[in-house]
């Protein structure tokens, strides 16, 4: 055995020169592969960045363009430099964190100080254009313009032939008419470079889009717009509203009412009537003031905040104690069938939580649900529709969803408590309850405290459960925002922003800022108490 091995190695042993050459080649080969991979990845990043810069240039987004350029240069420097090794590992995560988490949180804070929402979701220029377009009427005796509907990357435009001088010009909803060199056919402009002319069939197919086309005649919105019904003939329409740029007022020519910009993000008449859409303006603490002084918002806000705390605290306590109770059952070494029970008890944790909540919502249905119909023999218990019952149901279902996790954690933590503790307690004549209450529970709490805090934080924002089970209902009757008795702060934000007739992004973001503050205070207090951050070396 040894002889043959020695013989083989002796046979293959290279000279020192060969060995060092092989090592260098190997190292160089490996390094080359890494370098090639690195260059390939950076080339992809740079190509994407270049494309982004190009697009942003077309859209005149200078600030974003500058940021993209700066970040790309930085990334290239980091990965080509021989220093900055930690940065090579941290950069991807940090870029994603800054753009998609820190920026969005900051932006949320900003929106909280604006009137952003339904009726206020653009700039003032967009609002003026939109108002004028919505009040267009055809100018009587206006000349007939020959038009051709053209398209470029999904955007429609009108190629218009002037009836007086036969000149062609082109414009879209956003861009007023501008003279172009067009292909003429029988005195009518029919095609232009860079745009595709729509056939008659295509115009018919997109008739609603074509009817909505209103191409401004010039950069002055008061000059009106060209519109077409059939994609063949266009007419000049002017607005019943007249915008006076110097006085910054809108005048309704039909009624003579003058609307002025009062700084609230909409043209407002003397009687307080607003022309909508308005535009987005900075409103300072208005949203917060509204949340505190408007009784129909303040009432629900207070109720929802209190319920959020009750829900989070009761959820943590109930799941923890049920999990602990079950974990302690399994401490008995002689108990049989432990594995079987364990699998059954952790199944709710393995089942996707949103499905669990939806299934419970079906079972708890007042008229058709399994619980009322079968288990309770046709009782009509309003599990999800009575304010108090709904709160109870939410807690019960969350107990179902959450106890398996606590059960697993407690089993692990209990194993960490040495058996001698128990024996010592028995020797001193303590009852099992005393041993548990005075010795085991405190030891256990030390180890599971971080998990309880994390669980509190999770339940504080347990959007899924509320949204899937009760939808926040039953609704508060006296509230002007679509909020109900079981809504948490987080689902209230979602509903104010995305459901109901009015989307009020500003108010929703103001609520978010309030949640930030609450969460931050809780975080600081809990960190102080657990000293979790001091462990970081």
């Amino acid at each position: 055995m040894t002889d043959t091995l020695q013989a083989e190695t002796a046979e293959k042993t290279p000279t020192p020169r060969q060995r060092s050459a092989a090592r260098i080649a190997d190292a160089a080969g490996g390094r080359l592969r890494w370098v090639a991979l690195k260059i390939a990845l950076l080339a992809i990043v740079d190509a994407v960045a270049l494309y982004a810069v190009f697009v942003l240039f077309l859209h005149n987004e200078w600030l974003v363009l500058t940021l993209v350029t700066a970040v790309t240069i930085l990334v290239n420097w980091i990965y080509f430099s021989r220093r900055a090794i930690p940065a090579k590992y941290l950069t991807p995560g940090i870029i994603l964190l800054v753009v998609f988490q820190i920026f969005t949180l900051t932006y949320t804070a900003y929106i909280g100080f604006t009137n952003y929402g339904t009726g206020h979701n653009g700039t003032k220029d967009q609002a003026i254009a939109s108002l004028m377009r919505s009040s267009l009427v055809r100018v009587e005796d206006s000349p007939t313009f020959e038009v051709t509907v053209v398209e470029r990357v999904g955007e429609l435009g009108l190629l218009v032939t002037d009836p007086t001088d036969g000149e062609a010009s082109l414009g879209t909803n956003q861009k007023p008419l501008e003279p172009v060199d067009a292909t003429m056919e029988g005195g009518k402009a029919v095609a232009v470079d860079g745009w595709t002319s729509l056939t008659f069939a295509e115009v018919l197919g997109r008739s609603t889009e074509v009817e909505q086309l209103a191409v401004p005649y010039s950069s002055d919105p008061n000059d009106g717009a060209i519109r077409t019904q059939d994609g063949q003939k266009g007419y000049l329409y002017t607005s019943t509203l007249v915008y006076d740029a110097d006085a910054d007022t809108m005048t309704d020519t039909a009624t003579g009412t003058v609307y002025t910009d009062t700084g609230e993000g909409a043209f407002t008449s003397e009687s307080g009537e607003q022309l909508l859409p308005g535009w987005q303006v900075f409103v300072g603490f208005d949203n917060f003031v509204r949340a505190i002084t408007d009784a129909s918002i303040r009432g629900p806000l207070i109720a929802v905040t209190l319920w959020t705390f009750v829900f989070a605290i009761v959820s943590v306590a109930s799941t923890f104690f049920l999990g602990l109770l079950l974990a302690m059952l399994f401490q008995n070494k002689r108990m049989r069938f432990k594995n079987g029970y364990r699998i059954m008890l952790i199944l709710p944790y393995a089942f996707p939580a949103f499905l669990g909540a939806l299934v419970w919502a079906g079972m708890m249905n007042k008229s058709f649900g399994f619980i009322n119909q079968v288990l309770l023999g046709g009782a009509e218990i309003p599990w999800l529709t009575d304010p108090w019952m709904a709160k109870f149901s939410v807690l019960l279902v969350n107990l179902w969803l959450g106890f398996p996790y606590m059960f697993l954690v407690c089993m692990g933590a209990l194993q960490g408590i040495p058996e001698e503790v128990n024996e010592a307690g028995v020797m001193d004549g303590a009852s099992p309850w005393q041993i548990f209450r005075r010795i085991k529970l405190p030891l256990l709490l030390v180890t599971v405290a971080p998990i309880l805090i994390a669980s509190f934080a999770f339940n504080f924002n347990n959007f899924n459960l509320i949204y899937m089970l009760t939808g926040g209902g039953p609704r508060f009757e006296d509230a002007t925002i679509p909020v109900g008795h079981t809504d948490l702060l987080i689902s209230m934000v979602y509903k104010v922003a995305f459901t109901g007739q009015n989307r009020d992004y500003g108010l929703a973001s103001a609520f978010t800022i309030l949640i930030f503050i609450v969460v931050a205070v809780i975080a600081i207090i809990s960190f102080r108490r657990t000293k979790a951050l001091e462990e970081l070396s």
């Binding site: 090579k88 590992y89 994603l96 002689r334 499905l355």
Partner: protein, 298 residues
């Protein structure tokens, strides 16, 4: 073996009493707990096998057994269930893998390198994840509305946009968890490799990543499950039915329980849950290990 008949009865009663005080009551509690745990699951399984579509029709457990509602769920042209499933898997797998990889890169830097700003960086990670992303859902929506104008490929109504948003949280509690685990791998290994001429990248990819595989699996699986459940951001970003994920689609499907096709929903729920449950049960040992490592650490 058998004792004389006279002593059997009292002894057995005494034994039963003692047995009950010792372990019997534990079985009672465990059985009650198990029924509470599995009864909704039994119900949904039964409802999925019942072809009768309504909520009331699903109430008699296992009264009929057929796979009709599964077929209905998969073939209904109004409900692109297969597409939802695919979307969910794409989002959860791509995001889960990327999250773990980006998190592991950061954990390696924090664990093995000493640089200025390291402590602040670690604290920032722990603090920022206290503010869940969904709080910023309004800003996320508005930001992606703007992105849609510039780069439609990652804007509203795209899975890639959703994945990017989720990856914003890649440096979060997961990194912190991994960082703790990386610290338990002895540094001597790195140093030995360094002496042999390996660079930092080589050490990371060929040595460390293999040794920390268990924690990567736990973090990956927990992220995967969390991503499957994420509703708030997905519902705001994904508009077209065929772009949506399971959680968005199935929730809309039963938003009105009175008219919902309850057995088709149950079939969809069972099909969605079974892969997750199987993976979970197979890996539960590691998950429990990961959770309790966290629990007993602090």
């Amino acid at each position: 073996m058998a004792p004389s008949p006279k002593v059997v009865k009292p002894a057995r009663r005494r034994r039963f009493g003692k047995w009950f005080r010792d372990t019997g009551w534990r079985h009672v509690v465990a059985i009650v707990g198990s029924i509470f745990a599995i009864f909704p699951l039994v119900y949904v399984l039964s409802a999925s096998l019942n072809a009768n579509g309504t909520l009331t029709g699903s109430n008699q457990l296992f009264s009929s057994i057929s796979l009709e509602s599964y077929v209905r769920m998969l073939t209904n042209p109004q409900v692109p269930y297969a597409q939802w499933f695919l979307n969910t898997m794409i989002v959860a797998l791509v995001t889960g893998f990327s999250m773990v990889f980006i998190g592991a890169l950061a954990a390696y830097a924090f664990s093995r390198m000493r640089f200025s700003g390291r402590r602040v960086g670690l604290i920032t990670i722990v603090v920022v994840q206290m503010f869940p992303q969904m709080l910023a859902v309004v800003a996320i929506f508005l930001m992606f509305s703007a992105i849609s104008d510039w780069f439609p490929a990652i804007g509203l109504n795209t899975l890639s946009g959703l994945i990017l948003i989720y990856l914003g949280g890649a440096l979060g509690v997961n990194t912190y968890l991994m960082y703790g685990f990386f610290n338990t791998i002895p540094r001597e290994l790195d140093e030995a490799a360094k002496i042999d001429g390996a660079g930092h990248a080589r050490i990371f990819f060929t040595i460390i990543l293999r040794l920390v595989a268990p924690i990567l699996a736990v973090v990956g699986l927990l992220s995967f499950i969390g991503l499957i459940n994420e509703y708030m951001i997905a519902s705001v970003l994904l508009i077209d039915p065929e772009k949506q994920t399971l959680v968005v689609g199935l929730t809309k499907l039963v938003s009105n329980p009175r008219y919902a096709d309850w057995s088709a929903f149950s079939a969809g729920a069972v099909m969605a849950a079974i892969p997750v449950v199987i993976v979970f049960l197979l890996l539960q040992k590691y998950i429990v290990g990961g959770l309790t490592a966290g629990a007993t650490k602090g």
